[in-house]
Symmetry: C2
Subunit: 247 residues, 2 copies
DNA sequence: TATTGACTCTTACGTTACGTCACCCTCTAA
DNA sequence: TTAGAGGGTGACGTAACGTAAGAGTCAATA
């Protein structure tokens, strides 16, 4: 059980940062009756994970959604982070190489195209997003879209029609509760369609993870929300309830 | 001669960023008569340098002051950046090692102190600041403070009294122009004191660099500004003028 | 020649992740 | 009991852009 200052000195991050993480619900320790924050060993562990993600330039919001996942796995995350840190290291090496080339270029020992001059410096590249998808819950999604691509055009049409119908149905009732009978019936239908037509059986946990993807991955969110603002969020919640009830 | 979009696609940074860099005077290209920005090869080169510094997490303001230095040396900067990138790489390796240890720790194969759990993660460490000082103009400063420490207490007192006097004199006239006779006289006195008592001869360029340090290095700035808000900036300007006039 | 699509500009407000007060409370050691 | 270190909550400031609005430009095409 440690107080803020102690955690701050151990970890090297500021007290303000700890306050902030509490404020946004990323890391909320317990409190004593005088209102002081107290951090347990578990909190420290979680903080460590947060900092690993931060070292990978993950925005705090994303870190939160990832770690809030019911099926979040500490060990799995560590392996993921390690892999990505190695990639980051490689990018640094690329930049260093670019510097070397530039030095040679200045000495007239070498030619460089304009593009070569900026090797490794384009921070824009999908960056973490790509891999973040690949990991956290996408296996299931991948398999389904893969399957989807292998279908004939007719089949695709039929399928997308089903999707369309379900989305519209859900959009119509998205103002109500995700736990309502209507919503759960629609979600059940959704679950059936996926399992019957996509050729891969979703476990309830995979189904739940899929729902999470809807709000974690912008591409999904945008697509789904075309049917109605906030639909992706609504579906995630409904799928969560569904997974809870049927387990 | 390239337009924004082209530069953006070559470098991978956004058009907005280029606009912004122009806005803050970090990288201001020329313009055609229709107001379009046009980037020369030199601009690209400068942009490359900026991105190298950015890869080291230098704040843009610092990048600007560094690159605005009259004695800024492209090649020298490249070597510096390379060295620092290697250090950054090492920090990544430390983090990776910490992950490995944590994995072993979870498997019960290893013990870890709380501090070890955060090895490499404390972003707070002087970071670039330290090295940034060591480089850009500190050689001169170093030698003087070194000398200063080797003095007897009596000598120190006398010297710090001199410093005190000059600072106060300058603080009193800091509202006027740094090029005014008063200011230049005081600065001349300052130059003499440094050269007579510190035991190291400042070339005019070193003197100028020293002035630059006053605003680049927070420790200097704070110290000096105790005598009056903005004094550090005033001295930098005055020292610049002095160096210009006497060369 | 008019139109279109791809670029360009400026202005301005929004966002993330804190830093930095200000003001007040609480605990502990002297 | 008193000082000093540490705790808390606002609230405002900052950096480095993202994003959207409204309007002008240019080259290719219909």
């Amino acid at each position: 059980m440690k107080h803020v200052k102690e955690v701050a000195t151990i970890t090297g991050i500021s007290v303000r940062t700890l306050h902030y993480y509490d404020q946004i619900g990323l890391l909320s320790p317990g409190t004593t009756d005088n209102g002081y924050r107290v951090y347990t060993e578990d909190d420290l562990e979680k903080l460590q994970q947060i900092l690993f993600f931060r070292a990978l330039d993950f925005p705090l919001k994303k870190i939160k959604t990832i770690m809030d996942r019911p099926d979040f796995d500490h060990l799995e995350a560590l392996h993921f982070q390690k892999k990505r840190l190695h990639q980051k290291k490689k990018r640094l090496e690329t930049i260093i190489a670019t510097i070397d080339h530039t030095i040679q270029h200045m000495k007239g020992e070498r030619d460089m195209t304009d593009k070569e001059k900026f090797n490794g410096l384009d921070f824009s590249q999908n960056q973490y997003e790509q891999e973040a998808r690949e990991k956290y819950g996408e296996e299931a999604v991948n398999r389904s879209t893969q399957k989807l691509n292998s279908l004939s055009n007719n089949e695709k049409d039929a399928l997308s029609q089903s999707f369309h119908r379900i989305y519209q149905k859900l959009a119509a009732i998205r103002q109500g509760s995700p736990a309502s009978e209507k919503a759960q019936n629609a979600i059940h239908e959704w679950y059936e369609i996926l399992n019957n037509h996509v050729g891969y059986h979703y476990t309830l946990e995979a189904f739940r993870a899929l729902g999470q993807m809807y709000i974690e991955d912008q591409r999904f969110t945008k697509n789904i929300d075309q049917y109605g603002e906030g639909l992706a969020l609504f579906m995630r919640d409904a799928m969560n309830v569904y997974a809870d009830r049927n387990k």
